[in-house]
């Protein structure tokens, strides 16, 4: 059985500062969006800002979510700065 994964996307300033549009990550059971952010932040360098920098918004499967929202295999999780459209 293949490792279970989820898809992570970054937008706008985060996309630029992390130099990353898209990542595929392992999806262990019982993980939350906050856990995912902590894992990413531990990469060091610009990634640290995900937990120590400006506010990060979270979407799971294209709907706004919270740090405590669970993430599961197959989910599309997105991290981005507060939105500024219109």
């Amino acid at each position: 059985m293949p490792e279970q994964t989820l898809s992570v996307r970054f937008f706008a300033r985060l996309r630029e500062e992390l130099g990353t549009v898209h990542l595929t990550m392992p999806a262990p059971a019982g993980q939350t969006a906050a856990d995912l952010l902590a894992t990413l932040a531990s990469r060091g360098g610009p990634w640290g800002q995900l937990i120590t920098g400006q506010p990060v918004m979270i979407a799971i499967n294209q709907a706004m979510a919270k740090p405590q929202s669970p993430v599961k295999p197959g989910d599309e999780v997105a991290f981005f700065p507060p939105v500024t459209g219109g």
Partner: protein
């Protein structure tokens, strides 16, 4: 897609996210063509202006989250249809590089009554600003910078 109310009669897509410019006149005609019960059409258009977070803006770059954007705005229209008499609603938002004075966003609502048309149009616009996943970068002769979300926009959105 918005939930249908008895009066809702959308015949064109409610939401378009596009690089291309739009024709506000054509959008108005589509909104107007919505039966003899329509008494009021409110529209809003946002344009690229020369001062935003900083002075000397020469254009914008707009990024969005494809798929989520359409869902969020469709849901805002559905909320508007639940709260007010909305016969048709239309939202267009452009993405990519937009020079000074370009049209950025169009929100149009037609209704039986003016109060409903104004309220639904302004609600959709205010809520879009703080919930639809778009990000704006201002381009100036001195460089470019991502626009910061404004507390006043958040407050306005929460007022609804």
């Amino acid at each position: 897609m918005p939930q249908k109310s008895f009066a809702y009669s959308q015949t064109v897509p409610s939401v378009s996210i596009q690089n291309a410019d739009f024709d506000a006149a054509q959008e108005y005609s589509q909104l107007r063509d919505s039966g003899a019960g329509t008494g009021a059409i409110a529209t809003f258009t946002g344009l690229v202006r020369d001062s935003g977070d900083r002075q000397g803006v020469t254009g914008l770059f707009l990024e969005h989250y494809p798929g989520m954007t359409e869902q969020v705005i469709g849901d805002l229209i559905a909320q508007a249809c639940q709260r007010w008499d909305v016969r048709k609603a239309r939202v267009i938002h452009r993405i990519g590089r937009l020079p000074l004075k370009s049209q950025i966003v169009f929100v149009g609502v037609c209704s039986a009554h003016r109060r409903d048309a104004f309220a639904a149009c302004e609600f959709i616009m205010d809520a879009l600003k703080t919930s639809a996943p778009f990000w704006k970068k201002e381009l100036t002769d001195a460089g470019e910078h991502w626009v910061e979300q404004k507390a006043s926009d958040v407050a306005r959105s929460e007022d609804w």
